[in-house]
């Protein structure tokens, strides 16, 4: 079982990306997919939405899997494996999660050995200037865990914004794959899927 962690700040479009690309991933690879959704709130809205759309989902509400819910997360990964027997588990942490801490938590996983773990970090193109101003350090912290960076909501910004974002990411984490996407229009979702599962 491989794992993809789809992380990014609050409102960066994690749920929308997953909902709009999970069929493409399973369609192009034939892989059986399960989801683990972590919501900070006491009732996990994102998990309920995904479940409603027919996806194999387990929710982890009331906290953050990078810290307080770390042990629960490990149990949930094992449960997902036993319950759904997926080839791929997609993890959506809360928007305030530190993906590096999730990776550190996964080092304590004692279930059946996992395959590859890939971390995708989403950056909201619409709010980028605001987030750089207000959340630069936390955002940088999330970026450091990235194997791939997606600029979301690309259809709502101009080229200059995407160039600014690319410059910021390159100066922060160097040469990682960057893909601007729009989950709602579907733009570049195929590129993302090819990049993430090689299909």
């Amino acid at each position: 079982m491989d794992m993809i962690i789809v992380a990014g700040f609050l409102g960066s479009g994690k749920t929308t990306l997953i909902l709009n690309s999970v069929d493409k991933i399973s369609g192009s690879t034939g892989k059986k997919i399960a989801l683990i959704v972590n919501d900070f709130g006491s009732i996990g809205i994102d998990g309920k939405v995904m479940e409603k759309y027919g996806l194999n989902t387990l929710e982890l509400p009331r906290g953050c899997i990078c810290c307080t819910l770390g042990p629960n997360f490990l149990d949930t990964v094992r449960t997902v494996h036993d319950k759904f027997h997926p080839d791929l588990v997609i993890v959506e942490p809360s928007g305030i999660a530190d993906p590096d801490s999730i990776l550190a938590t996964m080092e304590h996983y004692q279930g059946r050995p996992l395959g590859k773990i890939t971390t995708v970090i989403l950056l909201d193109a619409v709010r980028f200037p605001l987030l750089v101003q207000a959340m630069k350090i936390p955002m940088t912290k999330q970026l450091h865990a990235a194997d791939m960076v997606l600029f979301t909501k690309m259809d709502e910004v101009d080229e200059a914004r995407l160039k600014d974002m690319e410059a910021f990411v390159r100066s922060t984490i160097g040469d990682k794959t960057i893909i601007p996407v729009s989950s709602t229009s579907g733009h570049n979702l195929d590129v993302f899927v090819r990049g993430i599962v090689g299909a």
């Binding site: 409102g11 909902l19 809205i45 605001l130 207000a134 912290k141």
Partner: protein, 137 residues
Amino acid sequence: MITEDFAAYAARLRIGFQSAVPADEVQGMLESFMSGLAMDCLEAGTRLIGHIKCMVESGDEIIACSVTYHDARVRCRGRFETPRKEVDIIVNVLQYGLKKKDMVRIVAECGRRSFVSNVSMSIEDLEIEEKELIQLS
């Protein structure tokens, strides 16, 4: 966590109308409620809206809406398809700058404002273990 200086509030609003309200009208009320939450948070001095999201679940229908930006634009997945006599909304507000008590007040005021008069509305705080029910009308 990458930040700890935020405040979160989750609540369940139970709205009851005197008679069934057309689907488009309820949709408009819900979007106005969400947009109002963002605008009132900004007016009250929020530093950054992290994510304001809500969910309405009923049978096979699910409507999930969210606001993430200062323009208070509401994005919804799903729409009401049938008239409603009551609506059960779960709302999560996560923002930087305001205290929880501010968000409790804002959610109550926006609920009253958006779902017009002649309704009953109760708000349940989902963040506390011992549930507190505020009956507003």
